[in-house]
């Protein structure tokens, strides 16, 4: 699993490189475009994910102690939090569409026209990065669902609980990616609306 996570790091690494380039080349446009992201919603989502990491850790702990009921409950909680995150994300996406900030298909930049190119690229990266992160969340929720099923069946004991542990590792990893994404995308500019 660690080997797999290294792979994932390289995967997102390429995106962060593109981001660095963009931010360096179009600093002002990026700042302007970032101002259009809702840092409050992003912040709420950060909180949701942090709590879900906690419940995930509790689930792993419970599995190691052989507490089946607790394991399942914590896992269900984790799953719900993951779904909340995705819900908020979907709301943000639809908002961007309404505001005409969807690159390529529906993009109308009304502020300083000099920033339009850079801003569009920034939002493009925003969608690619958060989209991929969202995809990882969907996979994570699927994994948790599968673990819940197995836990319910009584597959896990204090001796054998590797799948729970591995799923936990994955979940934490996806959370950490978000911890990087949030400040880099949302918090570039001190929030003043």
């Amino acid at each position: 699993m660690w080997a797999f996570l290294v792979t994932e790091v390289m995967f997102f690494g390429g995106l962060f490189l593109a981001y660095t380039f963009l931010r360096w080349k179009y600093h002002d446009a990026v700042v302007a475009a970032s101002g259009h992201l809702d840092w409050i919603l992003g912040g709420v989502n950060t909180g949701v994910l942090l709590i879900s990491s906690l419940t995930m850790a509790m689930a792993v702990h419970a599995a190691q102690e052989g507490k089946r009921k607790a394991t399942v409950n914590f896992l269900i909680l984790t799953m719900i939090l993951g779904a909340v995150f995705l819900g908020v994300k979907a709301f943000e996406y639809s908002h961007k569409w309404h505001d005409g900030l969807f690159p390529g298909f529906n993009f109308h930049w009304t502020e300083n026209p000099g920033y339009a190119g850079g801003a569009e690229m920034f939002l493009f990266l925003y969608f690619v990065m958060t989209g991929l992160h969202g995809l990882h969340m969907v996979v994570g929720i699927g994994l948790v669902a599968w673990i819940i099923k197995r836990a319910n069946r009584g597959d896990f004991t204090p001796e054998y609980n590797i799948p729970v542990e591995i799923t936990g590792l994955y979940w934490h990893f996806v959370d950490i990616v978000w911890i990087f994404l949030y400040p880099l995308l949302y918090l570039i500019q001190p929030p003043h609306h």
Partner: protein
């Protein structure tokens, strides 16, 4: 002299091949050996396809004028490159020989995750067929390098579909790499310490690390490329404010290490062949093992030598040039170790050994001309010419394809239980060697004289060398086709091989040919180092036999 089977053997009753019957039992198998066979079949078909595209290219270049339209020619060389790189060279040795041998060589019953292994074959097939369907619908004209902004904003061809195919095949690499790393760590038989691992396993291990670290970068690059095409945004397009060099960095950050995904496993095969046919322990075992790891690591630091003329900073160019020279050192270490192994060995020249010797010579040329390319000043002259084409064919075909074929011949008796006809084997090996050099050596000269790559027409003064090259390609094609016939023939009519037809060392030769589903009847216990040969004893026995034969006359 070590050589073909003397005794008469019987085929074992139950093997991995007949353990279960029906197509379904193959398509749903978890057995690493069966999956290797699935790969062998599909990879051979793709290789033939890539060869057809190569033939198209060579026919066009037979004469200076245009035979194909430029657009058609662009699609042909792109298809050739994509098929050969992504569908043949990258998976060939790991997915066929690695899959078949890695578990057996370390004394395991299977890979750590058999189902994931099967999944990787399906990913490969799905990705491959998507790419293929893009070609059938009209193909791609960007070159296998997909340089932006042409690929994102201007090309009217099927870039998206092809990219999707390559993306999916990437995951097949990643899953295979994961499986190999974990298997090597966790499933070695008792006594199989790291310092006793066959060098083939070391090389597969190093390759897997490169796959795990590099492949995700190309995956994300392809995602960005595809998204840029769909969204019409220009991260890589200077007209829209982006930077095409960023794409080149990302692309080569994967694709230079990818050349080591292609060549490291080949080096592993060669270590096995050299040891077996000179009856000696590979000289400097640990140097060879660690040079694989060194190549895997340093290979990630030299991608910038593909960007010497891209406008990257001059300082970056100098550093990348220097690092490229450094990465040649571990490769040279291997070549010196192989040649030293031959020295005082009890050498015999069966087909696999012919391939191994061809490898050493061709890889030396490929590597040394790599240094020409890595020399910053010289590269400005030869970049984007036929010199580059010749350089990388010497390493990709001269090293990887040659090692792959050598390995297929060496382990064919193990995989099928039967031996192939030596005469035909040697003949085709020699045809390939001659044909290969005739095809690609003239291209060094062509490139040096200034013939650019990727054009369908050229000035008439280049024709002589191009005709030579096309003639060589025809010989090469015959050489490649011959094994298809005699290997298939041997499946039915070849003499039964017995467990160890070469008298070679290694766990794979201690089990039946073909092996049973679980590889061994009982878990083997390893008590000696790899390649515990005794060359001197072998040689004196051979000389004695020779004397006796003389006296008998």
């Amino acid at each position: 002299m070590p050589g073909a089977t003397n005794g008469v053997f019987e085929m074992p009753k139950t093997t991995y091949i007949n353990a279960q019957e029906g197509i379904k039992s193959w398509l749903l198998t978890g057995d690493h050996k069966r999956i290797a066979i699935l790969y062998l079949i599909s990879i051979s078909i793709f290789f033939a396809l890539g060869g057809i595209f190569a033939a198209l290219i060579r026919i066009e270049l037979l004469t200076p004028g245009p035979d194909l339209e430029a657009e058609m020619y662009n699609r042909a060389f792109t298809a050739h490159g994509i098929v050969m790189v992504f569908m043949f060279l990258i998976p060939a040795i790991p997915a066929v020989l690695g899959n078949f041998l890695l578990p057996i060589m370390i004394g395991a019953r299977d890979l750590a995750f058999p189902k994931v292994n099967l999944l990787s074959w399906y990913l490969y097939m799905i990705g491959g067929l998507l790419t293929l369907s893009a070609m059938l619908m009209g193909g791609v004209d960007t070159g296998w390098t997909f340089y932006t902004p042409y690929s994102t904003s201007y090309s009217q061809s099927y870039v998206f579909l092809t990219g999707l195919g390559i993306f999916i095949m990437g995951f097949s690499s990643i899953t295979t790499g994961l499986n190999f790393v974990i298997t090597t760590h966790k499933m070695r038989a008792p006594g199989m310490t790291w310092s006793r691992l066959p060098l083939f396993v070391w090389s597969q291990y190093a390759t897997s690390l490169v796959m795990l670290l590099g492949t995700p970068v190309i995956a994300i690059t392809v995602v960005l490329l595809a998204a840029e095409r769909v969204f019409g945004v220009g991260v890589f397009n200077p007209n829209l404010g982006g930077d095409p060099v960023l794409f080149q960095h990302l692309f080569w950050f994967y694709s230079h290490p990818a050349v080591y995904i292609m060549v490291l496993p080949a080096m592993g095969v060669i270590s096995e062949l050299i040891a077996a046919f000179s009856r000696r322990r590979v000289f400097g075992y640990s140097f060879v093992a660690f040079s694989s790891l060194a190549i895997a690591i340093f290979g990630f630091l030299v991608w910038g030598h593909h960007l010497f003329v891209s406008g990257q900073s001059a300082y970056a160019g100098i550093i990348f040039s220097l690092l490229s020279f450094i990465v040649a050192i571990p490769s040279a270490v291997k070549v010196f170790n192989w040649t030293t192994t031959l020295y005082k060995g009890s050498i015999s020249y069966e087909t696999p050994m012919l391939y191994a010797l061809a490898f050493i010579g061709l890889f030396a040329i490929g590597g040394l001309t790599g240094l020409f390319c890595a020399a910053l000043g010289l590269d400005v002259h030869i970049t984007d010419t036929y010199f580059i084409i010749a350089h990388f064919h010497y390493v990709m075909v001269g090293a990887t394809v040659i090692a792959y074929l050598g390995g297929i011949h060496y382990w064919w008796p193990k995989m099928t239980g039967r031996t192939y006809p030596e005469f035909w084997g040697k003949l085709s090996a020699m045809l390939i060697y001659v044909g290969f050099n005739l095809t690609f050596f003239p291209q060094f000269i062509l490139g040096y004289l200034g013939m650019p790559r990727r054009y369908h027409v050229y000035p008439p003064e280049y024709q002589v060398l191009n005709v030579l090259s096309t003639a060589g390609a025809s010989v090469l094609a015959i050489g490649f086709m011959m094994p298809v016939f005699y290997l298939l023939w041997s499946l039915k009519f070849g003499p039964v091989a017995g467990p160890n037809p070469w008298g070679a060392k290694g766990l794979e030769w201690e089990t039946a040919s073909p092996p049973p589903t679980l590889n061994f009847d009982a878990t083997p216990i390893v008590t000696e180092e790899a390649y515990a040969y005794d060359a001197e004893a072998e040689e004196s026995a051979y000389q004695a036999a020779l004397q006796q034969a003389k006296h008998a006359k």
